[in-house]
Each structure stands twice: as structure tokens, then as C-alpha cells.
Amino acid sequence: MTLKTLLLTALPLAVLSLSQNVGATPLPPDFCKKWEDMPIRQRGRVKPLYVHAVQSIKYLTGKTKSQGMGPLELYCRLSLAFPLGQTPPPLKAPIEHIKLQKLLGLEGKGPWPYPLLLEKEAQVRSARRQEEKNPGPYGKAMDRLLGQIALYQDILQGQNWTLPTEGNWAPIAALAQGLERPLSSHALSELLEKTKADYLDAHGQGHLVELYYVKSRIHSISMGLILLSLFLLILIRRPLPGLLFAGLSLLVQVASVVWRIMISGRAPITNMYETVLFSGLAALTIALVIGHLRREKSYVIAGLSYNFLCSLMINFADGMLSGDISPLVPVLRDNFWLSTHVTTVILSYAAFAISWILANTALLKRRFSSMTPKEFRHQADSIYTCLKVGVVLLAAGVILGGIWADYSWGRFWGWDPKETWSAIALCIYLAILHGRYTHWISDSRFVPAVAAAFMSIMMAWFGVNYILAVGLHSYGFSEGGAVFLMSIFTVQALILGVTLTRLKTD
């Protein structure tokens, strides 16, 4: 750390503590823990402080713990550092982009302390101005860093932690101004207690549902159950134990979705995180229904496998999928159309996902294990069943989208990339079905074609947001994800390459 950095960090602290809070007592170790259920209004919503702390600290540092402190502790101590004249916890941000590292004169991704990054803010801002039109990763990396710095400063100055006061919300720094000097943690406690009690009197404890949801670790439990049911179905000949756990996992997932509906008051399909969550649940439901009707556990295994992939993304891909619940853009504020159009489309994606898993399983099994032509034909038949469900649902979903667009924007079809890619995916699956009817596409072609066709679904679902990044469906846009999508495309190409080479040599 340079001398200048030290000065920049220490000087405001020194000035503040000398001028305002001479003799202020340090925060007791357990001070922050008791405020996790404190209501806070941020990003247009009222939520528990703990939830906001997790979101903010994750955004600032890329993780939820630092220096042995949890997110609530870090957020709370950072927010109260200036009002109480305390040293803020030393937060650090990783800088992944190499060009940005070079711009800042930093070697490696760090993580780098915020006081150092604050010193370089003007440099980043000036570079961003010069690359104003850069939509690429470098521009996004600069935007993210500037956003992190702004949030850090906002929290550090006590402006981010808002408290309910007389029907409005005010930053904790402003409310602390009205307290007696020297400011003590006791006085702060009294202030927080009072504002909390006032809020609970006026609004009740509705905001606490989100606290229980975040702290329940329901998605980890669900992932464990999925994994267990998968093992049981694969390893035990009798399907009942596996099915029981699959059913239990389904119930847990339904509970998680209902929980989100209770928090947000809308269908949980408004961003990438929620569509992934819902598609996993939908795939398992469809798989259980078809599996029950066809008396076949292969559907359930495929559904669970896809559900597991979704669960992995929900639990670990938080850089790409944000689980934050945010207010909706105006056009989406129509629960009827949201629930019908998006749900139908995601249900179709789920059906196609089962066909994709079944197709790849058949290809790999035939290539690396043993699979008789009869078994392969049977598998193709199973895939075809999923395709039928998927095609009907996707056609219905696209049409419902058209009717919604007509109702909201005044046109049934506007060649928006999201709707166009949905139509492309539908056409690709229809072409495969037409080819199969004419026997142009035999089973040995049908199965790899279905595996490849799912890439059009991935393009409609993720590609429009992560690769094309244009259009009216901009509320689904998010950072990153192109690497994820390219990885999926590459893996699929490799599977097809390896399994079809065998086919040719045979």
C-alpha cells in the first residue's frame, strides 16, 4: 500500500474521530448480530438487513465472508465506521480483467483493498469515458469496478443503511447526527430498537419471510435430495426409494418457489436465476408425470439429472445468476401474462431438456457402454415423447407471447431476438419431427439431432441475453454467461464429435 493510500484512508477517519466522536466507544463484538431482522429499503424494496448485507458484501468482495466476519458483521461495521469513528473492516475486491489490472498498475487479480481502488477511481472513470462505446468485457469490468467503488463509499459514509423514520427512510449517518456526542453504541442501539419497533408496529413482520428464506438453505437441501434420489434410482433396482426422495425433492423445490412468490408477490420467472430454478422444477415434474404414465424410470433419471444441473447453477453460479429479488420493469407487471407465457415457455424448455439428457445418454451409452439397437430405438421413442410435449408447449408459449405483445405493445410479432430465437428453436424441432415422419431422419440421426437441437433452446434462453444482448426482453439481461454458454456448446460438439465418429467408422 502506498503512502498516499494510507493517507487517503487514515485522514478522513482521523478528522472525523477528532471532530465529532472523541471518546467514542468501539462496537461490542455482538452488536451487529442482533440487527439481522432490521428492515432496510434498498433497490426499491424493503428487506431484512441480513439479506441486503449478503447481497452487498458479495457484490463488493465476490464472497460473503472476510477476515473471519460474516456479511452482516462486515456490512454493519463498514456502515458505522464513520459515524462511530472506527476503522472500517479491510474489504478487498478481486480484479479479473487483465487490461483493467494493467490500467490500474496492479499485478494479478488481487484481491485489492478498497482504499487503494478509491485512489484509482478517477483513473478508471477517465478510461471509461474514453471507451464510452465499449460494450465488451473491458467496459463491463470498468463499470463493475466503478459500481463497487460507489457502493463501498455509500456504505462507508453511512448512506446505504437506511432506517424507517416517520413514514420515510433515512440513512443511518443522517439519523446518527441527531444523537448525543460522543456517539456510543448504546445510543445507536436505542435508535435502531426504536425505529425497528415503530416499523413493526406500522407494517408487521412481513419482510422477515425473506430472512427465513435466505437463511433456510433450502436450495442446498434440495440439491442433496436430488443427488440422493438419483443415486437410489441408478443403484437400486427397485424404483420406489428413489422415487420417494425425488417426490420429496419436488416438494422442497415447490416450497422454495412458493416462498419466493410470497416474498415478491409475483410468478418467480422474471430473471435468469428464477427461470433456471423453475425449469429444474418443471423438468422433474414433467419427468415424474411421463415416467408414471409410461412406467419408465429413465424419464425420472433424466429429469433429476437436469434438475441437478439447474441446482448446481442455483447454488454455485452466483456470478452469472443473481438470486436477488428486484422490482420488475413496468411491462412485466402483469401477473396473468407473466404466469401463462413465461411458464409455458419454461415448461417447454424443461421438456426439451429431458430429451437432451436422454439423447446424450443414449449417444454416450452406445459409444462407451453397450446398447442394443432395440434399446436405442426405445430410447429414441422416449425422446420423441418429450419432443411432442416440448413442441406443443413451445408453440403455445410463443403464441401466448405474441398475444401478450399484441396486448402490451400493439403487435403480435415484432422480430424481437427473444421471440425470433424461440421461433427458430420451434422450427428446428418441427424440422426434426418432419424428417422423422418421412423416415429421412432415422433413429441414429434423430438422437444426435435432438441433442444438437437443444443448443437452439440454449441460444433462445441464454444466448439472446448473453451473446446478442439486444431487444425488448432486456429485463432478462445480465453480466457474463457467454463463457458458460460457449462451454455448453463446446461440450455438446465434443459429445457429438466423439459419438458420431464411432457411428461413421461402424
Partner: protein, 538 residues
């Protein structure tokens, strides 16, 4: 025989397979075009191109003949018939919308009734004294198009749907100074082209404002008078000789009015006394009995008061030299005696100025040239301008979407506008107020709402339009599309205006497709189960 064969091919599932995949591939190309070149380019190049329409036509034929081949009707095909009839109905609905529908936008400023709906096609509009004389709808193409249209003596030559202005130096018959400069400091860099040529002044005016800095481009003949620190600060410019003299050189005696205004009197070229008030006007002033004055604009002598330009950062450029007022004196500096010269330091914000080019026998013009558009973050950053080249009596003229053209032709004054096609609604719509709510504690919009009044033959009616709540009136539907902020801080609203006679056809087609798909797969499932049972019995 041949016809039967063609019909058979068109109705085959193999043809359907090829045509569906071609349709999908073209759509995919369209989405990548949109991502790179913008929505308008993608629409012109792919979605609304004749080729794409042709593919859709072939698809329709494929659907029609596939239906025809499966008659007389069989139960197994009931689902199939429903889907394909649904598709034909859907296509018919889309065709009706395309042929007879209206899809445009109406821009409403608060308190200003409007009935003009802007449609998507470009159009050249020729106006004489606010009266439309002629209009031409321009081709819907993504690439430059040759035109073959004439109106009176005017030929429409070339249309550029996407263009950017490029600086070109044109030869001049008369000598007028024009220069290109670069103003820069550590943070900013700005090119500046200025000219005194009459044909350049619209594109490159002689006065420009760069933040707080005012830049004036003056005739080089004025420079000698700027070099002198004459106490009066008055310069007399004689347009006959294009020469300047200071008031001191002309021995002019300055007097003051009762209200402390400086003035002087000299003998004009008409032999009469001309009174100059340098702080009021560069021309001599003529007073009537009531004390009102008006400038004598045909005077050959004009006065320039340097004292008017001593406040704030002001830079005067004279081609190869510059001047500015600093620390109570006028500073003049010369660029090196070369076309590309070294830079000169200015006294504001570390600014420097460099002369890049100076011409007296040619002048700069903005000439549009075709530029494939570039889209970044859902916004066009290149090629947004439309341009049309016309020829009048052998001379080329450009009219662009940004710059209308005004021309005098045989004593008549015409204006040429390159704008989007419009239609007039049979009623007027007035924005009473626009309301935008934000999410609590943020600036993120939560809702847009327009309160409008409609003036029609039936009288006045009041309506409330917001997202997912359109207004339906007289076969038209109005949707909340966008909004804008005006200079006075108030908000205006943009509504989508839609008339879609194919709507119900599309809905009916959609319903048939979905129901048909379910029926079709149900019937096939029954058939498959039947086959399986037969196999078991065998």
C-alpha cells in the same frame, strides 16, 4: 404432369423439412444482424426483405399442398389438418396486417394536440410555403439505392438508408478562408472546421461553442487591427477593400450619449452622415423621430468593438493566426508558415490549438456516404442518418434526415425534408399529463402513465393509458410505448398506434395450431399404442 410433380414436391414433408430449416437459418442470421447492425438494418436486410417473404410464401405453399395431398380426410390426420389450417389462417392474418394494418407512433407534448402518426418508411417531402407540393416514398432497402424519379427540374439520384457525413474539400471559384483546427488538452480533443465560404457556413459555421469556450472565425484581413492595442478597441472594416483600420488610425472622435453609450459619426459612401453605436450594432444606425433605430445594412463600412469580447474565454481564429484577450491586453499568435503547424498554447484549461489545414481556394462540405450501421448497447452509434442525393440543373445537392435543404427555384422557395412517412388520424389527441412512478427510493421507473383527451366528431373524451392498459378508439389502439423529457423539464409521451385488421385471424390460427398439435400427438399416441398392442398379440 410437371405441375403434378411440382405440387407433389411442394406438399412433401422433405420440402417442408428444407423450407423450415431455411426459414430458421435466415431468422438466426437476422438476430445476429440485429445485434451488430441494429433493428432497422435487420428488418430491411432480412425480416422484411423480398427473399425472406419468398421463403414464407414457399412455406405457405408447402402447408397448402401438404394438406391437399392428405385428402380425402382420414381420422388419423384430424390433428394434422387442424395444425396446417391454423398455419394458413395465421399466415393470412399476418398478410392482412402487413397489407392493410397500421403500425406507427404518435409523439405527444403536453398541451399540444396532435393527429400525426409516424410510420416506418422513409419519404422525401417537398414543401413550398408550408404547402406540401410532392412526396416520394423511398425504397425499403438496407443498401444504397439508385433512384429514377424527377419532379420539375429535380432528379432524385441516390438514396442512402444509413449514412455518415464525411468532410470533403470542394474547389471554389472565389477566395474565402476555411480552416481545420484541433483543440486539445490532456482530457479532451476536438476537431473544429470553420469557414467563411457561403456554401459552407451551414455545415461549418463561423462561430462555435465548446463548453464555456466561444470560438469565432474571422476574416484574416481583420488580424492587423487585433494586433494593435488601440485604447478604444474599435475596428472599422471596409467591405469594398476588405481592409481594417482602428478608430485611432482613422482619427475618429468618440462621443458619449446621455446614457453613457459610445458613438461616432463618419461620412458614408452615400455622402450622408452615418452614426455608429459600436456596443449596439456593427452597422450604422438610422433614427426616426420617436428615437427608434434600425441598422443600415447596405453600409460598406462596419464597426467591430473588441470591448464586447473581453469577458469569458473567447478565441478568435483568423486562418493562420489567433487572438484572445488576457490580462487587459489582446494577444495574437501566428501558426507556423506551413499547413500542418505546431500547436499554440491557450490560457484556458491547458488547451492548445493546432492548425491542421487552411484553404482559400477550396471549401469544406459535409457529404454523406453510405455507412453500415453499428449498434452498441441497443443504440446506433454509426449510420443513423438517412441521405438523399438530388441533381438540379446538373448540380448535386444532399438532403439528409438531420439537415433539410432549402432552395430557390425560378423565384419559388422550396424546402426538402427527408423524414418518415406519416398519416393523419381522423381525430386529435392531446396529452393532459404524463406520470412516471419510480420504485421506492430509486430512479427506476415503475410505471408510465399518459392521461389524454381525445377530440373527435363525437366530442371530447378523457382516457388513461399505461403499460398493459391500451386505449381502443375508432378501430385504433394506443399503447404506452415511451416518454421523453422536454427542455422545460416536463415530460412528453410516445404512444404506439395500431390498426390491425388481421388480429383475430392470427388469434384463431394460433388457437387451431395449439389445439391441432395436442390432437395430432394424441392421435399418434393412440396409433403407437395400437401398434405396440398388435406386436404383443403377434
Amino acid at each position: 404432369m410437371l405441375l403434378n410433380r411440382i405440387e407433389k414436391i411442394l406438399g412433401s414433408a422433405k420440402f417442408a423439412f428444407v423450407i423450415i430449416l431455411s426459414f430458421a437459418a435466415l431468422m438466426a442470421v437476422g438476430t445476429f444482424f440485429e445485434s451488430t447492425y441494429g433493428t432497422e438494418f435487420a428488418g430491411r436486410a432480412v425480416y422484411k426483405s423480398p427473399f425472406f417473404m419468398g421463403i414464407q410464401g414457399l412455406m405457405l405453399l408447402s402447408i397448402f399442398y401438404s394438406l391437399l395431398h392428405r385428402f380425402p380426410a382420414k381420422k388419423a390426420f384430424y390433428g394434422f389438418y387442424t395444425i396446417h389450417i391454423g398455419l394458413i389462417v395465421l399466415f393470412s392474418g399476418s398478410f392482412i396486417t402487413w397489407y392493410a394494418g397500421i403500425d406507427g407512433q404518435i409523439t405527444l407534448s403536453p398541451g399540444t394536440p396532435s393527429q400525426t402518426v409516424i410510420l416506418g418508411r422513409d419519404m422525401l417531402s417537398i414543401v413550398e410555403h408550408d404547402r406540401s407540393e410532392a412526396s416520394y416514398v423511398l425504397p425499403y432497402t438496407p443498401y444504397p439505392a439508385k433512384l429514377d424519379e424527377t419532379w420539375k427540374e429535380i432528379s432524385l439520384v441516390r438514396y442512402l438508408p444509413f449514412s455518415e457525413d464525411h468532410l470533403k474539400w470542394m474547389p471554389s471559384t472565389k477566395r474565402f478562408p476555411s480552416s481545420r483546427y484541433l483543440l486539445f488538452n490532456e482530457n479532451v480533443s476536438q476537431e473544429l472546421v470553420m469557414s467563411l465560404h457561403p456554401q459552407s457556413t451551414k455545415d461549418f459555421p463561423a462561430t462555435s461553442k465548446l463548453g464555456p469556450l466561444e470560438v469565432h472565425y474571422l476574416p484574416p484581413k481583420l488580424l492587423p487591427c487585433f494586433r494593435q492595442q488601440n485604447p478604444s478597441g474599435l475596428i472599422l472594416f471596409d467591405t469594398r477593400t476588405s481592409s481594417c483600420k482602428t478608430a485611432e488610425e482613422e482619427n475618429i472622435s468618440l462621443q458619449k450619449t446621455k446614457s453613457d453609450k459610445r458613438f461616432f459619426v463618419i461620412k458614408g459612401d452615400d455622402g450622408k452622415a452615418h452614426s455608429f453605436f459600436p456596443e449596439l450594432s456593427p452597422w450604422p444606425l438610422l433614427f426616426d423621430e420617436k428615437g427608434n433605430w434600425q441598422p443600415i445594412k447596405d453600409s460598406k463600412v462596419r464597426v467591430f468593438s473588441k470591448k464586447l469580447f473581453t469577458e469569458g474565454p473567447r478565441l478568435f481564429l483568423f486562418g493562420k493566426a489567433l487572438a484572445y484577450y488576457r490580462k487587459k491586453e489582446w494577444v495574437t499568435k501566428d501558426f507556423q508558415d506551413r499547413q500542418i503547424a505546431g500547436s499554440l498554447q491557450l490560457p484556458w484549461m491547458g488547451l492548445q490549438v493546432q492548425l491542421l489545414r487552411h484553404e482559400e481556394e477550396s471549401f469544406p462540405r459535409q457529404i454523406p456516404s453510405y455507412e453500415r450501421p453499428v449498434q452498441v448497447n441497443n443504440e446506433l452509434i454509426k449510420g443513423e442518418q438517412r441521405a438523399l442525393k438530388m441533381e438540379i440543373r446538373g448540380r448535386p445537392y444532399w438532403v439528409t434526415s438531420d439537415r433539410p435543404l432549402g432552395l430557390a427555384l425560378d423565384g419559388q422557395r422550396y424546402s426538402f425534408y427527408l423524414q418518415q412517412q406519416t398519416i393523419k388520424l381522423p381525430f386529435e389527441i392531446n396529452l393532459t399529463s404524463f406520470k412516471m412512478d419510480t420504485d421506492p427510493g430509486t430512479n427506476n421507473p415503475a410505471s408510465y402513465e399518459s392521461f389524454v383527451s381525445l377530440f373527435s366528431k363525437q366530442g371530447v373524451s378523457h382516457h388513461h393509458i399505461f403499460m398493459n392498459n391500451p386505449l381502443k378508439f375508432s378501430h385504433f389502439t394506443f399503447y404506452q410505448a415511451s416518454y421523453f423529457q422536454m427542455e422545460d423539464g416536463r415530460y412528453g409521451s410516445v404512444l404506439s398506434v395500431n390498426f390491425d385488421p388481421g388480429r383475430w385471424w392470427k388469434y384463431l390460427g394460433s388457437l387451431l395450431i395449439v389445439l391441432g398439435s395436442i390432437w395430432h400427438f394424441y392421435l399418434r399416441r393412440a396409433k403407437t399404442i395400437g401398434i405396440r398392442k398388435k406386436r404383443i398379440l403377434v
